[in-house]
Symmetry: D3
């Protein structure tokens, strides 16, 4: 915990007077950006089986569509987020041992990254799964929403140290 010795990092979302601000990306070049986020919708085995055995429709398809649509609306939901013309949103949702595993990958060419778009997309896909299954089990949990990796931009590539996705 030697962190206290290092100088306290500064919050880029705050100005000198300590007020929240959007980060100014006017001077940054447009480069290819990509980010992937994952989330787990944890549910009882019984609930998962009911969802899996739905005779014809695929309950995860609606979650995927909702996740794609949400990525496009990230800047409306997250106050200090920049609007970006996304070039791709790819949401995967699959049944796994613990419930439903979701990943969302977002791409854009822009002056700032798309981490928030990937996280928002995954979150809304997970909320949609909850919505469709809540009549079966209100105790479903949405958990481990995290950034798996991002690339592009000056700060370069980030990769999460130990991905839960690998466990399921």
């Amino acid at each position: 915990m030697g962190g206290l010795q290092r100088p306290m990092p500064r919050l880029s979302h705050y100005d000198d007077r300590g007020r929240a601000r959007m980060v100014d990306v006017s001077a940054k070049p447009r480069t290819a950006r990509q980010a992937t986020a994952s989330v787990l919708v944890r549910m009882k085995a019984r609930t998962r089986r009911a969802a899996e055995s739905n005779p014809k429709g695929d309950p995860l398809e609606i979650a995927r569509i909702a996740g794609i649509a949400a990525a496009k609306r990230t800047a409306e939901l997250i106050p200090l987020c920049h609007p970006l013309p996304l070039t791709n949103v790819d949401v995967q949702a699959d049944f796994c041992r613990e419930g439903v595993a979701i990943t969302s990958t977002v791409r854009a060419a822009g002056p700032t990254g798309v981490e928030m778009e990937a996280l928002t997309s995954a979150a809304v896909a997970a909320l949609t799964v909850y919505d469709m299954l809540k009549a079966l089990d209100r105790g479903i949990e949405i958990t481990d929403l995290r950034l798996l990796e991002k690339s592009g931009g000056k700060s370069g590539t980030y990769r999460a140290p130990h991905s839960r996705a690998g466990r399921s």
Copy 2:
């Protein structure tokens, strides 16, 4: 796991042909509805301290506002969710040992519950915390998003069996 013996529960969000549908609440009376959801934004102690020591602004205030605004847009994000004229949204966000603990309570008078509004509100507040702190630590996790309780409507009151809120 004797659950298999019981008849498989039916997904109310699917029609007889197995296709996704909105639940028809036309015949349900308008009654007072309330739901509370909670979520944890888990971060390193160092990150939390940087956020807490921000000289003047309160980084959690923006998260709370984003959570309130998101509750009002739930029906735009969750495809099969009903639009409801909300009468209150109360988002609390507090630093805790593990990072930031958020709860959102939503109220409305309507023919259906407000669980999705509470969960969406908490999720977007948590995403906003992530957005504001991500320059410090991209490994922040949003976890344990769950319904704490709901009341109103025919299905009555639900209370989560063991609330994480109690632990923090």
Copy 3:
């Protein structure tokens, strides 16, 4: 063409000065409203077969979800339309001889009807079908968008004289 003899009907969406206005429904009681609209997405048989034979996904499912979501946003799209808390949106989309036949039924309890919600929902579902199939055939047409029936309110029940839906 004896219509000219009858007094010219008045446009309720215009005031005495000839300016567009929202119809004031403040004094109207909240009653149960329902409306059904239909539309045909006409395409070449070859295009329809390609869509039908898509190995796993159901291309019409996304159209249905888009139609449900659009119903909820009608008042944002149609300037003089009243916002209404909808209680149900049911979109059906099926392959037919000429392409894809879509119907949307919308219900609400409110002081005005939901015809625009049903028509908007059907239109957006049809546009979504076009979007998904346009790479195969840009000549797909969206046609015969019409109100099949409405009920509720002072003006009572309307039923379209000869429904195209019956023909397909």
Copy 4:
């Protein structure tokens, strides 16, 4: 109908597992794009005359504004559509023998086309005409919504084989 002999065309909106996806346009260059769509709002002559003789306001002006606004929101309505910063939307609405003829032309510089924006814009303009005249005639039909032409991008220029616009 020798179409069956040719290999079945592939739906670009579906991945290898048959699941709906956004088309990834990340690698495509930004080029000038244009698309024009048309639609007919078919009504009784009596209804058209009532609309035309409205003393001062122009009932088609509101339809045009609604069509322009809708073009900008296409990516919110059509789930797999990319958001694009449009550079022009031009909606024309004119009384014709059969009712009201609408065309919408949309332009943008982007990695993908603006067909959906033109079609959505024309559709919402037509729905707005319906909304304003529905008190006169609920049997008004919106018909022949189609792409007249598009240009720009790798697939080049498309022109509809025989334009209904030419007929009216």
Copy 5:
């Protein structure tokens, strides 16, 4: 300045900890609400004449439509505002000696007032006038945006002491 002697009024939008909150209107009855706001778009006489002499279109018609549409989106723009199903929005925009005078009257049946809807509607109508005339004169000012009157609810009727509307 004897105001200091009176107890400091409490901000209803803040809770006991001094944090912003939505006012809880869950227990309030739904009653008829109405509010009227006005605003002046002040411009040079030369600019006003150019706008007035526009050969065919009425530049104020678009401002009116924008004002009506904005009223319906007030709760999306004003963070702590409650969503309400409006029953009427009536925007008037007229040339006056100083430029363009706008009033907006909004009505709803709900548990809280519609002042913010009237003010937001008038503001957006004024901004739209600015947008349409800004190429002529970037010095146009939007001024005197205020509540003229409100009625309904427990706090009863409010009427502005000396209305600018009376002066123009």
Copy 6:
């Protein structure tokens, strides 16, 4: 008033038939754009003191967040405005002698200016101040909303002749 002698300026937002249109910016290059708008929320000294002395929260912080969010939605509110991917929105709100002084600066790289974004952002921030203080005083006025300066694009830099901001 020799203005009458000069040829009447033409409204760029109108076509040859006098109909409203979006200005076509397809051929314009993307350049760095910036605009700053200011507005005054005028209130009684007593109201300002109550707002200033709010024990913990800063009532102006929510106004600032609302102003940032509104800038991003300008093209949804102003019908003929082009959507632009903004790179920065900076809203300042400070108590002044007359009440609250707000300025908003918006930046983007695009084919057209961001004046409307700056004005809309300032207006919504001011409306949010009104919303939070209206229980204290319904007579609060929003006044002197104007463009302070803009830069970028072919028309070059504009600076308001005598800025009210300088007075407060």
